[in-house]
């Protein structure tokens, strides 16, 4: 079973080919920070944002500055050792690289956005200084830190501890906090602002979406193998976790939107968070808890394929690692 303690090494016969396919797809989507053009962002920041929007962006990038590092640490310290499948560990290794890439992206972003060194240092210290951000970090530590000392998942309770970590990780941090952050970026993007941030974030979220899919695949595999772990107690704890996550993110939203941003009201933000939380519960095969509808029509824009005019935006819809031989008779 996937959570049986150990470090399995054999890849053939492959027990979980889905993980291997995900690994290969991830490789095809390799991008680099150097491809992102921040030149128009600088102009936007200086001339086109309202003070309230400027505050929102400053807070948001402060969160980004540390968010992915928390994720990376959890990946290494709490997930890698318990998911006992070499193909899944290939995926996790790839994910770890992607998280580092995201950290690099946000590092470059902050260096570009905040020229003043003192202000920059302050932004990176946000996790300690800004209450709405440290509050989010506390939430993460509470739910994912509980298995820091766990060496192996033998008992039911230990395995449930692992599942709660993974659900918090994929469902709340990647699946809710990051999706909320995405809404802010996307709101700006729908107005044609901060293209560099939007381009990079788009790639980050393409990666994060794949991470979530992987995590849910792990959870579902465990469910197939040991359905008894998914009992009422676990469900109750998951609901409690999501309720806390929504409140936590809402406190962050209050901070971000304190100047008043037309088109992003707090009321709508709450509905959006509840809507996304319900979707994550659905991903876990659970009933909705909040019953809210998505109020942000601009989020529909991220659900459809994009067409860029290469004059204006770098086209991002390409794959790397294309294979095959020269031929003249293949169908096209």
């Amino acid at each position: 079973m996937l959570l049986d303690p150990g470090f399995k090494l054999t890849l053939r016969p492959m027990e979980y080919p889905a993980f291997y396919d995900m690994y290969r797809d991830a490789i095809k989507n390799t991008w680099t920070v150097e491809e992102i053009d921040f030149s128009t962002d600088i102009v936007d920041l200086a001339n086109r944002l309202t003070p309230a929007e400027g505050h929102m962006i400053a807070r948001l990038v402060a969160f980004f500055a540390t968010g992915d590092s928390i994720v990376s640490n959890n990946l290494v310290l709490n997930l890698y050792k318990h998911i006992n499948s070499p193909e899944a560990r290939m995926y996790l290794s790839r994910q770890l690289y992607e998280e580092a890439l995201h950290v690099q992206f946000y590092l470059t972003l902050l260096d570009t956005y905040i020229p003043d060194e003192d202000e920059r240092a302050e932004a990176f210290a946000a996790v300690d200084n800004i209450p709405s951000i440290s509050n989010k970090a506390d939430f993460c530590y509470k739910w994912i830190g509980s298995i820091n000392k766990l060496e192996a998942t033998h008992t039911h309770e230990e395995r449930k501890g692992f599942l709660l970590n993974l659900i918090c990780f994929a469902g709340c941090i990647e699946g809710l906090f990051f999706f909320a952050a995405f809404a802010y970026v996307y709101f700006m993007r729908s107005k044609g602002l901060l293209n560099g941030l939007a381009a990079g974030t788009n790639w980050v979220f393409r990666d994060e979406s794949a991470h979530m899919s992987f995590a849910f695949e792990v959870i579902n595999t465990v469910r197939d193998e040991q359905p008894e772990l998914f009992d009422e107690d676990l469900e109750a704890r998951v609901i409690e976790m999501f309720e806390e996550a929504v409140e936590c993110e809402l406190m962050f939203a209050e901070d971000l939107l304190e100047g008043g941003v037309s088109g992003l009201s707090l009321k709508d933000m709450r509905a959006y968070l509840e809507f996304v939380a319900d979707q994550r519960l659905a991903n876990l095969g659970m009933a909705p808890r909040f019953g809210s509808k998505n109020p942000f029509a601009f989020m529909e824009l991220q659900d459809v394929q994009e067409l860029s005019n290469f004059f204006e935006r770098k086209v991002s819809a390409y794959q790397v690692s294309v294979t095959g031989e020269v031929a003249f008779d293949e169908a096209f």
Binding site: K191, N202, S213, G263, Q279, L301, D303, V304, N309, Q319
Partner: protein, 790 residues
Amino acid sequence: MSQSATTQATENSDSGTQAPAAATGMHVQKRNGGLEAVDLNKIVIAITRNSEGLTQVDPIRIATRTISGLYDGATTAELDQLSIQTAASLIAEEPEYSRLAGRLLSAYIDKEVQNQEIYSFSQSIKRGHELGLVNDETLELVMANSRKLNDTIEPERSHLFNYFGARTVYDRYMLKDPVTRMVIETPQYFFMRVACGLAKRPGEARDFYRLISSLRYLPSSPTLFNSGTCHTQLSSCYLLDSPDDSLDAIYDRYKDIAQLSKYAGGIGISWSRVRSRGSLIRGTNGNSNGIVPFLKTLDSSVAAVNQGGRRKGAACVYLETWHGDIEDFLELRENTGEESRRTHNLNQANWVPDLFMQRVQDNQTWSLFDPKVVPELVDTFGDEFKQKYEAAEAAGLALRQLPARDLYARMMRNLAQTGNGWMTFKDASNERCNQTAKKGNVVHLSNLCTEILEVTSDAETAVCNLGSVNLGKCVVDGAFDYQALAEIVRTAVKYLDRVIDINYYPIDEAKSSNSRWRPVGMGAMGLQDVFFQLRLPFDSPEALEISSRIQEEIYYNALVTSNELAKQHGPHAAWEDTRAFQGDLQFDLWGVTPPETERWDKLKAKIAKHGLRNSLLLAIAPTATIASIAGCYECIEPQVSNLFKRETLSGDFMQINDYLVNDLKELGLWTDETRNTIKKGEGSVQDVSALSDEMRALYRTSWELPQKALIDLAAARGPYLDQSQSLNLFMASPTIGKLSSMYAYAWQKGLKTTYYLRSRPATRIRQTTTTDTSDVACSLENPESCEACN
């Protein structure tokens, strides 16, 4: 900030329709700084006023949602903008909201202009001149005829825009006060300004205004940006020959390119004459580092020139396939590797001789050369090139040899991984070019969008002015109206020719070339609209027939007009150096006989007598921005999706296939469920099970169509297209095998050029707004088709 229709309602408490005040608990800040309670009913009234003829829009819903997104104490301008955005955000659910949002925006713009005390077209021009934006000639023309021109303006034509069109014009095309950044023209004043910039008499201005404001034809972006202004750089494309193999020549080119990009021109530049890596440099007795470091400099230079914030500077570098640095060149766009050898802003194209493609087919060896050693290869094509290439091989001058297929595979990989490294064919481009009749006149490259093919040399930089007819507007009562098309083409070509004389040439080499050859590029857009209206699948035989006939009509009428202009003003200076002078038109060069030979014979006789005013007349450009303004599909391209977003400098815009929505509505199938299915299918209707096979065939996307059909259509219009076309090809998951087959076919069919290869990312962002279900179902037997894994 300015005011709009919505604000008017909130500020004039006794407006026409009386409704009980509906308190919302919110306040807006008025222009004078005072606070006022937001009244739902007043917003509803303002929206209703703009909803005339729109049966599906719900003003109460827009008003409620607008208020829901508002914060207490927002400004009235924010309220107005939010109501526009709110309407726009419902486009995917009901396309009529696009019209509503467009009208609300138009009303907003009108107010913005009026608040600056500009109430007529002539006042707008006067203000523009005072601000140093509008040129003297245009001011004079307008002032001398102000009443006539003001009366010609038809404000209701702004209702022809959908939201995206209105937004694009507002954000990027209309003249702005340099200090306040407010627009000083309405959309209709804008069209009239463009017309007056090209007109000599008020009657001409009226004719051209009526044509472009009807959206049946639009000039290219540089003309829309700059006509009538103090910077009349109206051309879209510049083609620069490769710098000679010297440091001075290379740095002179950087400067030329910077000058040309400054005023909205796209650049094509060849680099084939510059020596390759390892070549000896006599002056220092060192070895050259090859072309890559110079292209890196070009990359930075292009990025530095920002076209007034309206467009980014952009360039495409062409390299011949035998050049010693071709392999380094093919790595320029890769996203890994040494950054000093990567150029993220430059586009690249391969200038491919037939000999290479033949050797790929025959699985033979290919030789790479240093142009310093064999400079003659750049200036020859066809048999002459083949002789010189083989002689150089026999003389042992090759730097290196490799299997032709290895290099071809690398070209294909570059296309798949970056979309770049466009395949353009040197011999087809030269042998079927009107300008290459005289020995020594050689086409060395195409342009940024691979639709322009004109000769260049060190002394001649080729220029082209473009415009596109909106074919979708030529369908009347279920049939294509060729007469309407003919009329549009004749008027349009007249003004394209006019641009040549008015145009400001940032460098002398462009001016001398343009007056010798007088080339123009009449193109087309909205072919997909024609096919949807006539209900023809893109790959049907009928579509092929109509598409070819359309192109023949465009060519015929463009030639007729150019011949008439030649009769009036004389042929272009290099007329005797053209193939048309020798009696060959484009279809003769393809060995094709047009269906109605009689009218062509008559025209040829006239051409023999008076010549042509223009050496080249047609080119099908990508039309990305002007198709947005016109609200039609891009050039000759199939739709990429029934539901997608356009990413632009002004933001992201949802686009939906109106034709499909109307069909679905008629069938009673335009439901949440259908919308969800289409969204989940990334804009495909193949999973909408209630649709007939016929409809599913009609509404296939570019990803679902056989690409062979796109190439066949392109090849069939070739005999009536004297330059070329920006032909994008689409492959969701490219492999080397599929791509090499596809491009070999395109070459065999005689295409002169191809453009982007578009493909899809391997994984995608998780959708938030579709109804999500459990991820439990993962079919391990068939991971390819499983949504959870893909």
